[in-house]
């Protein structure tokens, strides 16, 4: 391709996009195989999230909602696990709820990831945490649960009755001390509309795509804190001093960004160089 008229500049302007795909793939896999462990900086939004988490009291009832598919879980699992770790250390009582069928097995993964802390803090199923299944299939389900919790939820994800668990203390939205929402945007606006708007304190960890849509809620005070994408999760891991999947991924994350920046620069140099070259050619012919 590069041998045509225009040479390297033309190639820089019009290269095959499959090179982009391959390069991006390689720069992400490389650091995962050989982690470098580069330092990172912490953003103010993450600090805010961390501070809100610090206000959790022992015995607080936290609604841990997973509005995500598996894909979203891969992106924000560092934030999810780090948040859970803090909650367990604060000895909050946690109830998992799920808004996507794929997420029904995720609470199990989270519990396994923080097993050590849970054992150390003597966490018992029912008394300290409960795993509910797919309880948010649509907006009506969320709204009904906010007004009459036991009218909607009767059993946990494996069909065991929830009577006798700490959920006996929950009647409606007022009884939750906090909602921690982890989201790709499926039922999040419903939780915002039917819980947070009424006054339930709500914090959120969203995927990168959702940041711009959720920021107005943070700015207007409906959300107390917003942890952003995988980078926020890594920063939270850094703040709580417990490295996890987020921090190990940050090398690849940096390289992925730099790779794209290089491609943009190459593209611009190619574009302007090539257009100028063509222009000069035209001028020469005109003369």
């Amino acid at each position: 391709m590069a041998k045509d008229s225009g040479g390297i500049l033309r190639w820089m302007a019009e290269y095959d996009r499959r090179y982009v795909y391959l390069a991006l793939f390689l720069v992400m896999v490389g650091p995962l195989l050989r982690p470098i462990g580069m330092p990172i900086s912490v953003s103010p939004d993450t600090r805010q999230y961390y501070q809100v988490l610090q206000t959790v009291q022992p015995g607080d009832k936290v609604f841990f909602t997973l509005n995500t598919e598996f894909s979203g879980y891969n992106e924000i699992q560092s934030g999810i696990i780090a948040t859970m770790r803090v909650l367990v250390e604060k000895h909050a009582r946690v109830c998992f709820g799920v808004a996507h069928v794929e997420a029904t097995v995720i609470p199990d993964l989270i519990v396994k990831a923080v097993q050590a802390e849970m054992t150390a803090n003597d966490y018992q199923y029912g008394r300290d945490y409960v795993i509910l299944g797919y309880i948010f299939p649509n907006e009506a389900a969320v709204a009904a649960g906010a007004q009459d919790f036991h009218g909607v939820v009767t059993q946990d994800w494996l069909g065991r009755p929830i009577a006798g668990t700490f959920l006996d203390e929950i009647d409606d939205w007022e009884d939750w001390d906090m909602i921690a929402d982890f989201t790709t945007g499926i039922a999040t606006s419903y939780l915002v509309n039917h819980y947070a708007l009424r006054g339930t304190p709500m914090i959120m960890n969203c995927i990168g795509v959702m940041i711009a849509s959720e920021k107005p809620y943070l700015d207007s005070g409906i959300l107390l804190a917003l942890l952003q994408s995988m980078r926020g999760g890594a920063e939270l891991e850094f703040l709580i001093g417990h490295p996890g999947p987020g921090l190990t991924a940050m090398d690849g994350f940096s390289f992925g960004h730099y790779m794209l920046i290089i491609f943009i620069l190459v593209g611009n140099v190619g574009y302007f160089g090539y257009t100028r070259q063509q222009q000069m050619k035209v001028d020469k012919e005109a003369k």
Binding site: R17, V209, M210, I211, A212, S213
Partner: protein
């Protein structure tokens, strides 16, 4: 809070009032059957040019209206589809309309079929209408994508016009469309989508431009009326903001208290 109204829960009065006002305005405009003036969105010129260019090159046009159920984005998409169907019938280009993609899209599909068929009939080329050119790519988003991308790679359209309620699959479509060398015109319904599409497409109808274009093209007074009511409420929003900011800067929070009433 400024005051409380007996019988109404504290802090919810203004919201109630605004809802009622909006309903009343919509009702008024629909009843009066007035054809509200709507300005022509520049995106429409881009669409017409794209279809024209496809006809010159003898290439087909691909036009889709989203994967959602009946929302106002879908209605806009259908109005634009109708326009594109007329244009392609007039210029003699083949029109391909991928449908499906969501659970709710099943309800929209027959309406789209009717729209395309009517357009061909009205342009007097009913015999060129081919139901197979409205393929149904299942009710699943990513099966839809596979089909959509596949059809673009096979027929190499001259232009791709993608409006209505598309979600994350919009990027696959826009990139493939660009890769096969088609003129890409898109619209996005939420901000991260719009931002990505603004980069990926040759022309984009930003946010509300699509419903406005749809209302401009349709002769349904109620669709036009709703654009007018939306405009009125945007004016209201700006007015409240300016008044409130002025007052707040002078140390008065009357407006904020009013809004929380």
């Amino acid at each position: 809070m400024l005051f409380s109204v007996p019988g109404i829960i504290d802090g919810r009065f203004i919201g109630f009032l605004l809802n009622i006002a909006m309903a009343a305005l919509v009702y008024y405009y629909i009843k009066s059957k007035k054809m509200v003036h709507i300005r022509r969105v520049p995106g429409l010129d881009a669409i017409e040019e794209a279809v024209g260019r496809s006809a010159e090159m003898g290439k087909p046009v691909v036009c889709s209206f989203g994967i959602g159920g009946f929302t106002y984005w879908t209605l806009a998409g259908l109005a634009i589809l109708s326009h594109v169907a007329h244009l392609s019938a007039k210029t003699g280009s083949r029109l391909i309309v991928p449908t499906g993609g969501g659970d709710q899209s099943l309800i929209v599909r027959p309406v789209a079929e009717e729209i395309v068929k009517t357009a061909y009939t009205m342009e007097g080329v009913e015999d060129q209408y081919n139901p197979d050119d409205l393929p149904f790519y299942s009710g699943q988003q990513y099966a839809y994508i596979g089909g959509y991308v596949g059809v673009m790679q096979r027929v190499r359209p001259g232009s791709v016009i993608m409006t209505g309620s598309h979600a994350s699959e919009a990027m696959n479509i826009a990139e493939t469309s660009n890769a096969v060398g088609a003129i890409t015109i898109t619209s996005g319904s939420y901000i991260s989508n719009v931002a990505a599409l603004a980069c990926a497409s040759d022309y984009i109808l930003i946010g509300e431009e699509a419903p406005a274009a749809g209302a401009y093209l349709s002769d349904d007074p109620s669709q036009r009326a709703s654009i007018r009511v939306q405009d009125l409420f945007k004016w209201l929003a700006i007015a409240i903001m300016i008044l409130g900011i002025a007052a707040r800067s002078l140390g008065n929070d009357l407006m904020l208290r009013l809004l929380s009433t």
